[in-house]
């Protein structure tokens, strides 16, 4: 049965975007005073809150200490009110555990961990409202939080999901599109060097199309990085005015 028409003949998507268009990204850094770094990011209707502690000395099991670099601890959770049906368990289920792992891998590739041997960096991300692209929103929010904490990174890490329908890649999927049954791919990119921090896909896709899809994802990530860069600069300006520099 044919489901929703994800891409109309006129080239519009369900929410009126064109295929390569991103949702509106809005972000603020330094939303909490107590944490070392924090950020709030909205990508369309998906809203995420990221908090960073550290680098500090190892807590919990000391056996995880790494002697040449910092240990990155990530925790992903979704607010119970973030989805259309109330979530019973905000974190700790399989999906969240997997997401935490992905975040950890992404930031291990981006943060210059070798500067802080035998220490730990904690990244906590919470989805306040979920409307597709949870992973990418988390990565983008966490990037801002890490920058806010003043932890050196190789580059921004920007993430974006892309779907593939009617031979056309669609950038930055919303929930309706994600659940529409097309194959999608999540990609986290260090945009300046073009290095891929994480690439994840768990659907079927013909090999021939993979390249165009990655290409589209990278373009989208670069778009996100521009927005993030602007947010950081804006934030710095505000902070420097406040501190009177």
């Amino acid at each position: 049965m044919a489901g929703l028409e994800l891409l109309s003949d006129q080239g519009y998507r369900l929410d009126g975007r064109k295929a390569t268009e991103l949702r509106k990204v809005q972000a603020r850094m330094g939303v909490f005073a107590q944490a070392d770094g924090s950020a709030y990011l909205e990508q369309g209707n998906t809203k995420a809150l990221a908090v960073v502690y550290g680098p500090h000395e190892m807590r919990g099991s000391r056996s995880r200490t790494l002697h040449d670099r910092a240990f990155i601890n990530c925790q992903y959770s979704m607010a119970t009110f973030s989805t259309a049906e109330r979530k019973r368990r905000p974190h700790g289920d399989r999906k969240s555990a997997e997401m935490s792992l992905h975040l950890k891998q992404t930031f291990e590739a981006a943060v210059m961990t070798q500067l802080y041997p035998r220490s730990q960096i904690d990244i906590y991300v919470k989805i306040l409202q979920s409307d597709g692209g949870n992973y990418s929103t988390c990565v983008n929010a966490a990037t801002l939080a890490v920058i806010d904490a003043g932890i050196p990174m190789r580059d921004y890490v920007c993430a974006c999901t892309v779907g593939f329908v009617d031979e056309t890649p669609l950038a930055d999927l919303c929930y309706a599109e994600e659940s529409g049954g097309m194959s999608s791919l999540a990609l986290a990119l260090l945009p300046r060097g073009g290095q891929i921090a994480l690439l994840q896909m768990d659907a079927r896709l013909h090999q021939d199309h993979l390249e165009t899809l990655i290409e589209a994802a990278m373009t989208a990530c670069k778009g996100v990085s521009k927005v993030l860069d602007e947010v950081v600069r804006q934030h710095l300006q505000e902070v420097s005015v406040l501190t009177g520099e």
């Binding site: 003949d9 929410d15 991103l22």
Partner: protein, 1058 residues
């Protein structure tokens, strides 16, 4: 929900390169519309290049309810400048996928002047739904605000007309803005399109239906359909079976079958189709719908009826010996496949009108498989006995019959033109005359401005004009020459070069042009008994694309370099060429040259005798070489198991005035086979080429091996006659058919071949990406890959193949790999062409049958000797036999038991009459027992039948056959001795045909028919045509299934006369 998200996701363009189209949509004031062309920029981007014409007085924007209820009116091509709104689109989508797709196609089709405006994605035309506002009101407001925006966007240069059925909206909005008019659809039609009568009629018929709908009530006649989710779950779990409903032609009231073919059926244990018995179990499904059935318990299973019944309404419920098959009932319908139906309004008499409302008529569809349709109309009186096109609207569970509305009146039943239009309509063939816009695309070729070869093209193409002797061999008088041949010895003599040059249609028909679209829609040239509907405009099909003699033409060529001795292929060259055909030969002439008989070649009449001899020798040598190669190719294919199913064919030869000058049996000419073989070879090599270059998107033609169980009748029939037929492989079948010759009766072999043909599956087009490679095989021709390349003038498939080949050649020279279409598109096109080809075939057969009936209608069956004919029994049924009448090429049933239960009894002189008695059926014979004694009829026995026409006011007339003697009909047929061979049969056939010609000419002389000819401006000799078709039928050649055998030449008659 959708709407607020669209509002919140305001556009954030990630990079600066993304600026163009969308921003224009969002910020119209930044880019003020320019006068002139630029003002249509929105449409241009929105609909992919479609632009509304600027020279209209207004653009019209229909309201959501108008689109939902009256889309059919908006489908008229005459209505121009329609702007559909997204709001209306979504309203339509909620009505059903089918309707939505229709709108989509409408917007896509460049022949319709309409565009889609995504008003809800436009910041300034979007209006959020207010609290407490009803959906309808909101949609109307949306459309109005879109209309206002559009008006302002066009800077007031074009008035906008919004049409709505909501009178309040008319009152509320009409005076708000000066350039935006709000009127009702009726006013709109009356004010702007007063002359478009068809639209007015359609409007009244639809609104009548809408009014009727409101007053529905009464008890349930059918059980409700289950919801889709339940059906899908049921199909998945195997509880229900999904399939296409096929109503039995002869017992339309009761029997229908579900064919699961082509659909993934989980029940692999269900090998056969599912029977749906009776109207209750069919539960409002109509022939062709995709339905879901539930199997009944085994105790309620029934068998299919195999006895012959007469027409419809025959409620015979006898159980016969055929085994019970799975029986089920319809629980839901997944997809309605309703099309336009032709119905006949019954003659009115007082008793027939049972319905309470006198305006409701039960109209009887022409197709017996379709239930009666209830039509609400006020024109019932005027439409009596007229054939009308109707559409079904709905079928509620409270109603015994579906509701519909009339669309178009075709004419009075029984009139020739009406009947022909009915045939076209019933097969979904739409052949409007080519529009002016389409003809404008055509190159000019008039005496004042003759068409010339473009020097640019000369440089690009290989010029064969000086180097190659190119000639064509076609039926005499042929106008559309698709193909020419050339053959020559290369310099050292050890190599031969064979060339097939095909008209380069794709040079003139650009992909995506209006002509291309029209050709694609038609997919093939339609040949009816009395007329022809061309796929391409005449300037192409019979002039610029036709490879006529003595003029320069563009061609697409395949040239092989063959070893002169072994004939092995050394090299193949494909490419575009420029040719000038030296000789436009016809078959008989070519054969005469081959045989060394004296012949006049028209091209050499002016030439001196010495030069003439030299040229003749050159031509004859080329023909001989060609024949030599073709024999070799044929032998090669025969070893692979190619089937020969064709029989004798007779062809009429026409002079300039299109009178028949002679009838020539076609079969003995080897040159036919020679030409056909070269074409098959070219098709095969092109198929190889495009398949290798585009492994997943080439258009090929495959002929799947037949299902063995379908051969059962053939094998059993042959056994009854003492032959064994081996059907395991195509080679075994071909060999055993060759052996199955009865010297006493050559008809036996022809009938066996006919049955074999019937058992075959249809050859069809497909995209190579959609089938595994082992399925590419062409069973009939015994080739691993095959396609159609050689007749681009009359088949659209060939045009696609030409484009594929062009792309393949371009890739060889280093161009970017660029396929003309994706696998999905090619497969869709292939499906379309296949279905159109089947429709064309059906239409051709139906029009043939129509003319047969017209022929016999004018004769009195009791007195006219021509209504009595010799017939051969070729199948046995429970209460009768099926016979074939070679004289007229008619197949039909003969009843041995009539409706009163009487059976045929044979008198001592062989004459037959009806007496009470019983019928017994055996494997190879059927016998009747009656007071007058017993009579037995065996397979392949010759009998005499009387042909009469069974008239029917609502359906097509049919021929009725009645047994009058159990011996062959008198005349030469009866006394034919065993020594007589096939050739003599041919002569008899010819004599027979000549007799028919005279009859036809006599008939033509009658004033009534010729008046019709004038009135409907048909071709000058319609009945001659039917006669030629009859003659062709004698050859048993078309047999419903084209097998590609020599298909390139399968329309010689049509080509010569039309």
């Amino acid at each position: 929900m959708k709407h607020d998200s669209s509002n919140q996701h305001l556009t954030q363009l990630p990079t600066s390169t993304h600026t163009p189209e969308n921003q224009q949509n969002l910020q119209p004031d930044q880019d003020p519309p320019q006068p002139g062309q630029k003002q249509h920029k929105v449409e241009e981007t929105a609909a992919g290049g479609k632009v509304l014409p600027g020279d209209l007085t207004h653009y019209v924007m229909p309201d959501a309810t108008v689109v939902v209820d009256f889309l059919e009116i908006l489908e008229f091509r005459q209505l121009q400048g329609i702007v559909f709104t997204q709001t209306a689109c979504e309203a339509l989508q909620s009505k059903g996928r089918r309707y939505y797709n229709r709108l989509r196609n409408l917007v896509k089709d460049p022949r319709h002047d309409c565009v889609l405006f995504a008003n809800e994605f436009q910041e300034y035309s979007y209006c959020p739904r207010e609290k407490g506002e009803s959906q309808d009101k909101w949609m109307t407001r949306c459309v109005y605000s879109a209309a206002v925006w559009y008006y302002n966007h066009l800077a007031g240069m074009m008035s906008m007309v919004m049409i709505t059925e909501d009178q309040e909206a008319v009152a509320q909005y009409s005076s708000l803005n000066s350039g935006v008019f709000v009127i009702s659809i009726q006013d709109y039609l009356q004010n702007f399109w007063p002359e478009l009568q068809a639209a007015h009629e359609l409007y009244s018929s639809i609104s009548q239906v809408l009014q009727e709908k409101e007053g529905e009530d009464s008890q349930k006649e059918f059980s409700e359909h289950l919801p889709v989710e339940v059906l899908e779950a049921g199909i998945k779990s195997g509880r229900y079976i999904q399939g296409t409903l096929n109503v039995s032609k002869h017992r339309a009231q009761n029997e229908a079958f579900i064919t699961t073919e082509g659909l993934s059926s989980r029940n692999t244990d269900l090998s056969s189709d599912v029977l749906v018995f009776g109207g209750k179990h069919r539960n409002r499904a109509v022939h062709g719908d995709v339905v879901v059935v539930e199997l009944l318990p085994k105790s309620e299973w029934r068998g299919r009826t195999t006895s012959l019944t007469e027409g419809q309404g025959d409620e015979k419920t006898e159980d016969d010996d055929s085994s019970a098959m799975p029986t089920g009932r319809v629980v839901g319908i997944l997809q309605r496949n309703w099309r336009d139906y032709v119905v006949t309004f019954p003659t009115r008499d007082g008793t027939q009108n049972q319905s309470r409302n006198s305006q409701r008529i039960l109209a009887i569809p022409w197709d017996r498989r379709i239930p009666k349709i209830r039509i609400s109309t006020q024109q019932a009186e005027a439409l009596q006995d007229h054939r009308v096109v109707v559409r079904m609207d709905s079928w509620d569970s409270t109603s015994l019959y579906p509701n519909g509305h009339s669309v178009r009146v075709l004419g009075r039943a029984g009139e020739l033109e009406t009947e022909v239009q009915t045939i076209l309509m019933e097969n979904c063939i739409h052949v409007p005359p080519f529009s002016d816009a389409q003809l404008r695309e055509m190159p000019l070729n008039s005496p004042e401005k003759p068409w010339k070869v473009d020097p640019v093209q000369v440089r690009r193409r290989r010029d064969l004009r000086g180097t190659h002797l190119v000639f064509s061999i076609d039926p005499r008088g042929c106008e559309d020459v698709d193909d020419t041949l050339s053959v020559r010895r290369l310099a050292d003599g050890t190599l031969l070069e064979l060339g097939v040059h095909i008209a380069d249609v794709t040079h003139f028909v650009q992909e995506g042009s209006l002509t291309d679209l029209e050709a694609r829609t038609r997919a093939t040239t339609y040949y009816l008994a009395d007329r022809r509907y061309d796929m391409l405009p005449a300037v192409l099909s019979s002039d610029l694309c036709s490879l006529l003699g003595g003029v320069d033409r563009y061609a697409m060529s395949v040239m092989w370099e063959l070893d002169a001795h072994t004939l092995a292929v050394n090299k193949v060259w494909f490419g575009r060429t420029l040719i000038r055909s030296s000789y436009q030969l016809h078959y008989e002439l070519a054969q005469a040259l081959l045989n060394g008989e004296p012949a006049d070649v028209p091209e050499l009449e002016q030439v001196g005798s010495e030069e003439k001899d030299a040229k003749l020798a050159e031509l004859t040598q080329a023909l001989e070489m060609l024949t030599h190669i073709a024999r070799h190719l044929r032998a090669q294919r025969d070893r692979g198991g190619a089937l020969e199913l064709e029989g004798v064919e007779v062809r009429a030869q026409l002079d300039e005035d299109r009178n028949i000058t002679a009838l020539v049996p076609r079969q003995p000419l080897e040159v036919h086979e020679t030409v056909a073989e070269c074409m098959i070879y070219a098709n095969h090599w092109v198929a190889r080429k495009i398949q290798e270059t585009f492994p997943s998107q080439a258009l090929l033609r495959r002929h799947p091996p037949p299902r063995q169980e379908l051969f059962r009748q053939l094998v059993e029939t042959a056994k009854a006659q003492g032959f064994t037929v081996d059907t395991r492989t195509n080679k075994a079948l071909a060999d055993s058919l060759d052996r199955a010759v009865d010297l006493q009766d050559p008809l036996v072999n022809r009938l066996l071949r006919m049955m074999a043909t019937q058992a075959m599956s249809q050859a069809m087009y497909f995209s190579t990406g959609a089938q595994p490679q082992d399925q590419y095989y062409h069973y009939g021709l015994a080739l691993d890959r095959y396609t159609h390349f050689t007749s681009p003038i009359r088949r659209y498939a060939d045009i696609i193949v030409h484009r594929l080949l062009t792309a393949a050649i371009a890739m060889d020279t280093g161009a970017e790999p660029k396929a003309p279409g994706s696998n999905k598109e090619v497969e869709e096109t292939a499906h379309h062409i296949n279905s159109k080809n089947r429709a064309a075939q059906r239409a051709q057969n139906l029009s043939m049958a129509l003319f047969q009936c017209l022929y016999f209608k004018e004769k009195d069956p009791q007195t006219d000797p021509r209504c009595v004919a010799n017939a051969v029994i070729y199948a046995i049924r429970d209460n009768g036999v099926l016979v074939f009448i070679p004289e007229y090429g008619v197949k039909g049933p003969v009843y041995l038991r009539n409706k009163e239960g009487q059976v045929v009894s044979v008198g001592p002189d062989g004459g037959c009459d009806w007496q009470s008695g019983s019928v017994r059926r055996h494997l190879d014979r059927i016998s009747t027992e009656s007071v007058g004694g017993s009579a037995t009829f065996r397979l392949f026995e010759h009998v005499t039948v009387r042909i009469s026409v069974q008239s029917s006011s609502c359906h097509a007339d049919s021929l009725n056959l009645e047994l009058i003697r159990n011996r062959p009909h008198g005349g030469p047929e009866a006394q034919r001795g065993p020594s007589q061979g096939r050739g003599q049969l041919v002569q008899e056939v010819v004599q027979e045909a000549v007799r028919l010609v005279q009859e036809a000419q006599q008939r033509e002389a009658r004033p009534r028919l010729s008046k019709e000819e004038k009135e409907f401006s048909q071709t000058r000799t319609p009945n001659l045509y039917s006669l030629l078709e009859e003659v062709r039928e004698l050859a048993l050649r078309d047999l419903d299934l084209d097998l590609d055998l020599d298909l390139d030449r399968s329309h010689p008659v049509c080509a010569t006369t039309a």
